[in-house]
Amino acid sequence: MVRISLDSVNALFAAIAEREALYIPTDTAPGIAQFKKWQSGMEMTERLKTSRSAKDFFFPQTENLVDFKVSGKKIDIIDPREETEDFVIFGVRACDAKSFEILDRVFLSEPVDTYYQNRRAHGTIVTLACSRPSESCFCQTFGIDPAAPGGDVSAWKREGFLYLEPITEKGRTLLSGLSALLEECPEDAVEAEKESIRGILKKLPLASLTPDAFGGGKTEKYFDSEKWKSLSEACLGCGTCTFVCPTCQCYDIRDFDTGHGVRRFRCWDSCMYSDFTKMASGNPRLTQKERFRQRFMHKLVYYPENNDGIFGCVGCGRCVEKCPISMNIVKVMKTLGEDET
């Protein structure tokens, strides 16, 4: 384990940015933190969470898939990708770090999504332990430990120092290039911090939330539940929860006519949108109840069924904070799970 004084953290950022692009969460508006490319003078935010998750780095909101040149009856296909450069994301929370594993199971399963894979290979993730979890946090529900946040390098802030511990080979490589700035410290230097975090976790209002009532094979149990109606009645059908969610991965593929060619791009899509499943011949999900149900069934039942029981939620709490009508997965789990007890 190594450490650096928080006063010199800018020097550390500068040293990383000299070699590869560095992204840190920074305040962009009152109450809004976002990951931005680091430039000299940029301060890291004090906020716990960025308003959008970190999935953008590997699965951006829009991305160009392929270009077409159409002339008469002829079509030319152009792969528009340029070589992706190495980059470092600093200050990823444990929940977001875990979300990458969930996305990996989708995008890196056969057939591999090479767009995602390419970015994933070039990105190094430096996580940051959550010294002050929020009331909306429930990552422990899904077995995530924000005191040991994972990633390629894990970091802790404690008493004026930033402690760093490499987790993977990628992380060791990153830190070895920065050794001039870092001083060695005992392996147990952050034990007190870990304990403090775990102590707070027990006191969080959502600490007792469990996913035990859910998982693969529960489709029949919940699909026709009467409760979906009242849960979904206030749903606006917007995409806020989906777009701030670190694990939502549905996308749309669309063509844009640029006037001199056709650009096929993919962009995030939301199962909450009324046109998500609309076909020429009709729509199998006609009301918001069905769309709402799909989102939560997918995270709590379908995804675990296909992925060894791992849930499609990391408990980051963004949907809890951002939903315009305050309806979220916590409420769904509590309401549906009531029957269990």
Binding site: S230, L236, G239, F243, W268
Partner: protein
């Protein structure tokens, strides 16, 4: 007030005057409020809430959850009554199936303002008079209510109810609280500064459509942005142009119909001050075509479906005559 509302709602349910009640209910945390339909006294006793966090405008919720064959009681804050009046004017809700009760509002608290102050780990919030007490995992805090009130409430246009069948509490008045100050500040900037300001704000947009879907004036069956035949249907802004286009058109489509309820800014997960676009249109309309407040009374004619033969020419913009 909450207890009086509950009592009245239960009376009306019991007498059969109404069969459904539209109000607010508390969700996970003190500040989490969800619009809801209540159909029994038990539900009302258990969940019904009215306090300084009940921000959501129930007019849009009523539009989405209306039933023609039965009467529904809807509680409306002053600003919600403007939206409701506008919906009735546009024949988007069936007035005969509604029983409207006007309720007072003393300004709603914006939880995001408390969060922006760095307050996190909130365990409870209580609002009493001018004080807002926040208990958190990391210590307690007290705020002056005016400091954490929603922007739209600080610039409240009216405490007056434009429509109701029954009023609870005292009737208020239309107010002048300088709601166009921000617009004027922007107008006084140079075009470069304005461009910079809006790029900064709009570039945060994630196109979640919350502003559109929460808006009581956005009640189209199929939105122009969802219709692939328009050539502009977008799911995400693939270019900064589309951010501009979406927000200009969204605001334009409600120009003359927007009552300035502020829901768009409230729901924006990225804190974009969308109301400043709507207010610009309201301001221009007021100046060019005479004072107009959408939702003031049923049957008003919106300035964009109206004209006079001596209206200002579009040149007025270029020549800076206004």
């Amino acid at each position: 007030m909450q207890e009086a509302m509950k009592k009245r709602a239960k009376e009306l349910l019991a007498s059969g005057e109404v069969t459904r009640v539209i109000g607010w209910k508390k969700n996970e945390f003190d500040y989490d409020i969800t619009p809801a339909v209540f159909e029994s006294a038990e539900e009302i006793d258990r969940d019904f809430r009215y306090d300084d966090f009940c921000g959501p405008n129930l007019s849009k919720f009523t539009f989405k959850n209306q039933k023609n064959d039965t009467k529904t009681l809807v509680f409306l804050k002053p600003c919600d009554t403007y939206s409701m009046t506008q919906l009735i004017t546009e024949h988007r809700v069936n007035r005969d199936a509604l029983y409207l009760i006007g309720i007072p509002c003393f300004g709603k608290i914006d939880i995001e303002k408390i969060r922006a102050d760095g307050t996190d780990g909130i365990l409870s919030i209580a609002s009493e008079g001018a004080d807002v007490t926040v208990k958190t995992l990391y210590g307690d805090k007290t705020y002056v209510k005016a400091d954490v009130m929603a922007e739209r409430c600080l610039a409240c246009k009216s405490k007056y109810h434009t429509i109701y069948d029954e009023l609870m509490g005292e009737e208020g008045e239309v107010m002048e609280t300088g709601r166009f100050n921000e617009v004027e500040k922007l107008e006084a900037m140079t075009p470069d500064e304005r461009f910079g300001f809006w790029r900064g704000e709009l570039s945060r947009c994630i196109r979640c459509n919350a502003c559109r879907n929460a808006c009581p004036a956005c009640t189209c069956e199929s939105c122009v942005f969802d219709n692939p035949d328009t050539g502009i249907s977008q799911k995400a802004a693939a270019d900064s142009f589309e951010e501009n286009m979406f927000h200009i058109i969204r605001a334009f489509h409600v120009a003359g119909r927007c009552t300035d309820c502020g829901e768009c800014s409230r729901v924006c997960p990225q804190h974009i001050p969308l109301h400043l676009l709507n207010r610009k249109f309201i301001r221009d309309i007021d100046k060019l075509y005479g004072e107009y407040q959408a939702g003031e009374e049923v049957g008003q004619r919106s300035p964009l479906v109206n004209f006079t033969t001596d209206d200002a020419e579009p040149d007025i913009v270029r020549k800076g005559g206004k």
